[in-house]
């Protein structure tokens, strides 16, 4: 290969960009420091020499402009919501408002230290206190801990509180019931707390049947973890009955709030009988996902579980806000300091921007968009559960598989049409699942373009299946060899030779 592709540019304005370690040259710098205005003692005079190191070998030496180009060029290989439609099921990839980024960067927040005494951190504490009240109201629960750093961290914190609650009654119990359609984090979080996981099968309508729960329920069951709306995008219509069955044997109901976007202002988990629920602020409450975090997973609880919340909590006395560490029943701490505060600022700004009517409108529009997509693609793609959905709909590759085109092929081909693929092969209860969540921030035109692309791919699967099976054709790279990555792991750059 010769010409432009071999050197800098590849296609259009997409550039080749080597690892940063293969760039720069000795002596090049990308920073400046004010002169040192205190005596410049030698390090060896302050720290025993055998505890010191020299300059770190292999760290790149590059100028500022090289750093900017490096990251800007790499960014161009990424798909983001800012570029287009991102219907990744269960991930709620909605637009991330930019004003939230600005307010999170106000020096009063970004330059505030977590160990500031409460009297000079009143703004931060008031924000946390109010956000807790908003989340409690949205979920119908009594208190909310803002500590957990992600949804899975919230699940873990929630299960720890359930365990502490049972322990306080004399027996932590040994099992947790989890429907087969659950996210993998549910069983993993339960296992971290030492619980045995008992899977519950979904019924023929795609929801959990009360009889299945009743059959598995006994006094060794600490809780049921149930996602509602579930990962098929369906409302668990027996949720109140299930909660009654679990409560009758002294169990707790853990609601996975990953899919809260579908129901805000319409129905509340606390009103179904849910005792614990995590919020995924990077889904429902517009914190940008950042290529894999930061997110946050606050956990709401009913009153009887509040004593077990992590310390500190934020309390209000008169007009003053303070951190309360004096909570003897607390599970302890699950992270340092009080919260992923920057994430809280963004979600606070989001809730204040939408208000009660806006949040309800979010849910209605997310559900309308999902049902519209479902209605337009039904028939072209196999729909295993043909009924009204909530925020997402789940198709399968059953029709396309007849011409040996699989879900993975369809997903990769969507990239050529300029779309991010849906979540694939999840939930596990649908073979070859395509889980599509449009969210409320997409216009009808965007949905129509996506529908047209999906129909075109279905046609291609029949007429030119090889084209679909070899997809993607347009991105920087074609399909990557994941088996090789796992069998011969190369997990870091190393100096040559």
């Amino acid at each position: 290969m010769n010409g432009p592709e071999r050197t800098v540019g590849t296609r259009g304005l997409v550039f080749n960009e080597p690892l940063i370690f293969d760039q720069g040259s000795p002596g090049r710098v990308g920073y400046s420091l004010p002169p040192c205005d205190v005596p410049e003692k030698k390090a060896e005079a302050l720290i025993p020499p055998h505890l010191l190191r020299g300059p770190i070998a292999g760290l790149p030496e590059v100028s500022e402009v090289e750093v900017v180009r490096h990251y800007t060029r790499m960014s161009q290989w990424n798909y983001g919501i800012d570029l287009g439609f991102y219907p990744l099921g269960s991930c709620t990839m909605k637009y991330n408002p930019r004003v939230n980024e600005d307010v999170a960067r106000l020096p009063g927040f970004s330059q505030a230290h977590p160990y500031l005494p409460d009297d000079v951190a009143q703004g931060a504490l008031e924000l946390l206190w109010e956000l807790e009240r908003y989340l409690a109201e949205i979920s119908g629960l009594d208190r909310v801990t803002l500590h957990p750093s992600a949804g899975a961290h919230g699940e873990l914190t929630g299960v720890m509180m359930i365990r502490a609650y049972h322990q306080a009654q004399g027996n932590p119990r040994g099992k947790i019931l989890i429907p087969e359609s659950a996210h993998g984090t549910n069983p993993a979080s339960s296992a971290l707390c030492g619980y045995q996981v008992v899977p519950i099968k979904s019924g023929p309508r795609g929801v959990v049947e009360p009889q299945a729960v009743a059959a598995a329920m006994d006094e060794q069951v600490a809780a049921i973890m149930i996602t509602n709306p579930n990962t098929l995008g369906l409302f668990e219509e027996h949720i109140a009955e299930i909660a009654r069955i679990v409560h009758a044997k002294g169990g707790q109901v853990y609601g996975d709030g990953a899919n809260l976007n579908a129901i805000m202002g319409i129905t509340r988990p606390g009103d179904w009988g849910v005792d614990v629920l995590q919020f995924n602020l990077h889904k429902t409450f517009s914190q940008p996902h950042g290529g894999g975090g930061p997110g946050a997973g606050p956990v709401g609880v009913r009153r009887h579980l509040a004593p077990f919340m992590p310390v500190p909590t934020v309390e209000k006395t008169g007009d003053a806000f303070s951190l309360d560490f004096d909570r003897p029943m607390s599970i302890g701490k699950v992270r340092s300091f009080a919260a992923s505060f920057g994430v809280m600022v963004r979600s606070y700004a989001y809730i204040r921007s939408l208000g009660p009517d806006g949040l309800k409108r979010v849910a209605e529009t997310a559900v309308l968009n999902a049902n519209y997509l479902m209605s337009q693609l039904k028939g072209t793609y196999h729909l295993p559960y043909d009924r009204v959905c909530k925020h997402e709909c789940v198709f399968s590759d059953a029709i396309q598989a007849q011409s040996d085109v699989k879900t993975l092929d369809i997903a990769k081909r969507l990239m050529d049409y300029g779309f991010h693929p849906p979540t694939i092969y999840f939930p596990l209860i649908v073979a070859g699942a395509l889980m599509i969540e449009p969210t409320e921030t997409e216009s009808k035109e965007t949905l129509d373009q996506f529908i047209a692309a999906m129909k075109e791919i279905a046609r291609e699967a029949k007429d030119v299946p090889d084209v679909v099976r070899a997809a993607p054709h347009k991105p920087l790279l074609s399909r990557l060899d994941e088996t090789r990555a796992a069998r011969q792991p190369v997990l870091r750059w190393k100096p040559k030779g």
Partner: protein, 448 residues
């Protein structure tokens, strides 16, 4: 609503296409008795300008490090962040991307995380790093669980000079699976007492946990501690809460560490009232399959071109469910990106120089404060950018007095260490000028 594009006309067309009359019909599966019959009781929507006003008003009520002369550290450090970090992480392609499950259109995130893993290895002297954890304390807790899985042992020895909140988090996690904790006390130098550590270690110890620089700012001599752990077949877990120190201090990997966990917040990511921060976790190649969290690996595409993917996923919850090494999925990719930009901007010389300035300025402050009447330096061992100051007057009253002069004089230690109730933890980074330090001394009664 500015974030929702569809108009009433769009809605009508869509309802018609679905074949229903109203959006309410889409919620027919929500039982009547479970529906909320009133609006949510939260404040009415604000216009963008009013949101900004409200947030500015709240922000103005915090004593930020721009307006106050602050000497707080203790796991969250005020270091200068070059402008390009803030600009580059706001690029929508990084900011608004999900976890890179689809590698063909996520090479930006993936290559950046591969570089991050490499940088963490260089910094810590370890062989493999994951793609980030939540923050330092939970990363430490997960590293302890990892040591428990590797060794099959149920006891943990933790130095008393490990960050108290990290110890608390580790206990919370470990209590779920019944691990037993022992403590290794500090010596009069402020470093961990080697003999105390040896006494606490035993045949059931999964790992020895030491922090360097420790919570008191002290520089630990890690090698003999690691050796003591290895002598009983335990692993050595080194915690790093202040990564800037690694610009000067010997890498934990060269001192015998088997696991290094810690906090990357110091790498130019801001204070943010404690988060989002950046947990990191690094280890030796032989333990990689016990690691929690995402890992990015190099591979090739169908044409043989180099590319990157998430790999070794069989450790993870979405494949292995209850048998996974952890439940972690979303962690701190964007903060890892910030830390990477910081490290490559500074390079080997810059990182060393920043670390040296921290060391020298803290040494200057330590000398000056030791001469202030009523103040003395508590421990005599070497320190990096923090040290403990003992005060004759009660620290609480002293700090309150300083606050009136816009000075945050440090952290009262009594809340964590009753034996240090007459002490302050003082942190001096490169952001402090000589004038800032002199002002603290003057306010404490040391004159100029």
């Amino acid at each position: 609503m500015r974030y929702i594009p569809n108009t009433e006309a769009d809605r009508r067309q869509m309802l018609e296409a679905i074949g229903i009359g109203a959006v309410g019909e889409l919620f027919a599966d929500v039982p009547e008795g479970l529906r909320l019959k009133r609006p949510l009781k939260i404040p009415r929507a604000l216009a963008e300008a009013d949101v900004v006003k409200r947030l500015r008003a709240l922000a103005a009520r915090n004593a930020d490090a721009e307006r106050y002369n602050s000497f707080l550290g203790a796991g969250c450090y005020d270091h200068f962040s070059p402008a390009i970090i803030g600009h580059l992480v706001l690029r929508g392609e990084f900011l608004t991307a999900y976890t890179p499950y689809q590698p063909e259109i996520s090479q930006g995130t993936l290559q950046a995380l591969f570089e991050y893993q490499s940088l963490v290895c260089q910094l810590t002297g370890m062989e493999v790093s994951n793609a980030s954890m939540y923050e330092g304390a939970s990363a430490t807790a997960e590293a302890i669980l990892m040591a428990h899985r590797i060794t099959g042992r149920n006891e943990v020895v933790v130095a008393r000079a490990v960050h108290p909140e990290y110890r608390q988090v580790a206990r919370t996690y470990a209590a779920q699976v019944g691990l037993v904790f022992h403590e290794a006390a500090s010596a009069e130098t402020g470093a961990t007492d080697l003999d105390a550590a040896k006494q606490a270690l035993g045949p059931q110890t999964a790992c020895l946990v030491v922090q360097c620089p420790n919570f008191f700012g002290g520089v630990e001599d890690l090698a003999p501690l690691a050796e003591a752990a290895h002598a009983v077949g335990a692993l050595c877990l080194v915690v790093v809460a202040e990564p800037i120190a690694l610009g000067l201090l010997k890498a934990p990997g060269e001192c015998g560490a088997d696991l290094v966990a810690g906090e990357g917040q110091g790498l130019g990511t801001g204070l943010n009232y404690g988060g989002p921060a950046l947990g990191f976790l690094a280890t030796r190649d032989q333990y990689v399959r016990h690691m929690p969290g995402r890992l990015v690996g190099q591979t090739v595409d169908r044409e043989g071109r180099t590319g990157y993917v998430l790999t070794l996923a069989t450790r993870e919850q979405h494949i292995r469910r209850e048998r996974a090494t952890s439940n972690i999925c979303t962690a701190e990719s964007l903060i890892a990106l910030m830390a990477s930009i910081y490290l490559v901007s500074l390079g080997p010389q810059g990182l060393r120089e920043v670390a040296l300035q921290n060391l020298r300025k803290a040494a200057y402050a330590k000398d000056r404060l030791a001469k202030v009447p009523g103040c003395s330096v508590r421990f005599r061992g070497p320190t990096f950018n923090e040290f403990i100051l003992r005060t004759q007057k009660k620290p609480a009253g002293l700090l309150a007095k300083l606050r009136k002069q816009q000075i945050i004089g440090g952290l009262e230690l009594g809340r964590f260490y009753p034996e240090l109730a007459d002490c302050l933890l003082v942190c001096v980074t490169e952001q402090k000028t000589r004038a800032d330090i002199d002002a603290l001394c003057a306010a404490l009664g040391g004159g100029r």
